[in-house]
């Protein structure tokens, strides 16, 4: 039974490992996109502008309230339509589409950005107000304050929450299989369908997900410990 997922002639081992790599790449790039989107949304949420705050709140509510499967489908089918329309405004003829990996990255980025915005918001609110006052009193410009005071501390408080969001992104990457991208879940389905041995394939997939989750989880805990150096907390 194990030679099916092994590395022999008929083995699906190499294919599964390649797919696991694709899963990791997809999750990593998606998570990083989420950092950008989440930071932007958090910034908007905390700003003085009513529209920005409302838009950021709506963004968070939308992508945390709608099932991720539907978000992925909508971005896949709707994304091409939207891009083609936008391209039409700029004079491009024909269809403009996002390749599968890009669609997956955008979907994961949009979803994780919604969760990350909350994490950053909580982390920002945990910074002592006195520090911000002191920074202003010193005459620091907004950008300097961001660089010197806000960003380092926000990151430090955000790391546990970000670890959780990373695990979420890793698991949501399995849903990207429905748009045909050959990551781990899809490869397991292909193998199971071709060989009619679903149990061994899905067990192998589960094991690979666990390995990725455990190693990256340990990495996050390490980073968390480093970030807490000198901090006196519970």
């Amino acid at each position: 039974m194990f030679d099916l997922v092994g590395f022999g002639a008929n083995g699906w081992g190499p294919a599964l490992l390649r797919a696991a790599l694709m899963t990791f790449a997809l999750s990593a790039v998606g998570f990083l996109s989420g950092v950008a989107l989440g930071a932007l949304a958090c910034f908007a949420r905390l700003s003085g502008d009513r529209f920005a705050r409302g838009a950021a709140f709506a963004y968070g509510a939308l992508f945390r309230g709608v099932p991720d499967l539907l978000t992925i489908y909508l971005l896949y089918f709707g994304g091409s339509v939207a891009l083609t329309t936008i391209g039409g405004w700029f004079g491009a003829r024909g269809f403009i589409g996002l390749p599968g990996f890009a669609t997956g990255v955008v979907a994961l980025g949009v979803i994780s950005g919604a969760y990350q915005a909350e994490v950053y918001r909580g982390a920002f609110l945990a910074i002592h107000r006195g520090e911000l006052e002191a920074a202003r009193a010193y005459g620091m410009s907004g950008l300097t304050m961001l660089r010197r005071v806000v960003a380092p501390q926000t990151l430090r408080y955000a790391i546990p929450g970000l670890g959780n969001v990373w695990q979420l992104v890793l698991k949501d990457s399995a849903l990207v299989s429905v748009i045909g991208l050959v990551e781990l879940m899809r490869q397991a389905q292909i193998g199971a369908g071709s060989t009619r041995e679903p149990f061994i394939f899905f067990c192998a997939a589960a094991a690979l997900y666990l390995v990725i989750a455990a190693t990256t989880g340990a990495l996050f805990r390490r980073v968390e410990r480093v970030s807490r150096r000198g901090l006196r907390m519970a």
């Binding site: 699906w12 089918f77 091409s80 891009l83 269809f95 589409g97 193998g191 071709s194």
Partner: protein, 284 residues
């Protein structure tokens, strides 16, 4: 607001210049096209361990593209996303054992048929349908001949749980003629309903004869057999064709020419005997 507005407009601009994937332009003769297949429907189209598609339709697609002298890339797309994906421009042609039906013709165009394969039931060898002597090929366009045999099948199949692939003409056939008689279970792929037949979650399948023959040849299906009459026409349309967007008229003409040539010199017959073990060439 000023900063936010600036960021937002830059983002929109950046988004619109994002990765472009090329697609065929409609009126000019294309030089490179993308063909989508399901990749989960052996022996017509399936996916190997290397991730590449293979099967009857892949060989046929390569042959047709050689005749048309254009470059073809074959991509894999889930069955229920084929038509929405085609209309959204993700690929240019569908070759996935898709039947030419009036309902589909409202949304997309089809080439002339390159295969005709009737659909039928696969049941347990001990079931009433298998033990009956009902056989024959029935065209549903000729309702007078088809209806009596369907009526004879109803009591034999009453209460059976039948697995069928969703969004197919097979599913429409069951819904039209056997709704309320059998318990219809819809699956995303034929591979999934094959798995559930082996597991005994469904008692029977309804699918194309060639696909059923290929599935039932595997050892775990020893107690199952293809049984009862075969059906074509009517809800099943006019056979299997290549799907294209309505605006791609030039491409349609090229495909029709290539298919006619492939039929004439026996290529379709050769490929279908190789993969499907039976000749599915449509009548001229």
């Amino acid at each position: 607001m000023k900063v936010f507005g600036k960021i937002a407009s830059i983002a929109a601009l950046a988004l619109s210049t994002l990765a472009f994937s090329s697609a065929a332009q409609s009126q000019d003769k294309p030089t490179a096209i993308t063909i989508a297949t399901e990749g989960a429907y052996a022996p017509w189209n399936f996916t190997g361990p290397d991730g590449k598609a293979a099967g009857f339709e892949i060989d046929l697609a390569n042959d047709l593209c050689a005749r048309m002298k254009i470059k073809c890339t074959i991509v894999i797309q889930d069955w229920d996303g084929l038509i929405p994906g085609l209309t959204a421009g993700k690929f240019d042609v569908i070759m996935a054992s898709m039947f030419i039906t009036d309902k589909r013709l409202k949304v997309i165009n089809f080439s002339r048929p390159y295969a005709i394969d009737p659909s039928t039931f696969a049941v347990s060898k001990t079931s009433p349908l298998a033990k009956s002597d009902l056989t024959g090929k029935f065209n549903l366009n000729d309702e007078a001949a088809a209806e009596p045999v369907i009526d004879k099948m109803k009591p034999l199949l009453k209460g059976t749980v039948v697995g069928v692939q969703a969004a197919t003409t097979n599913q429409q056939f069951l819904k039209k003629y056997f709704d309320g008689v059998v318990d219809i279970r819809e699956y995303k792929t034929t591979q999934e309903h094959d798995l559930d037949l082996a597991a005994g979650r469904v008692d029977a399948l309804f699918a194309q004869s060639t696909a059923l023959a290929a599935t039932l040849s595997k050892p775990e299906y020893a107690s199952y057999t293809v049984a009862g009459p075969q059906f074509l026409g009517g809800v099943f349309g006019r056979g299997t064709g290549a799907g294209m967007r309505k605006s791609d008229t030039a491409l349609l003409g090229m495909f029709n020419g290539a298919i006619a040539a492939a039929m004439a010199d026996g290529t379709i017959k050769r490929l279908s005997m190789k993969w499907l073990k039976t000749d599915v060439t449509p009548p001229q």
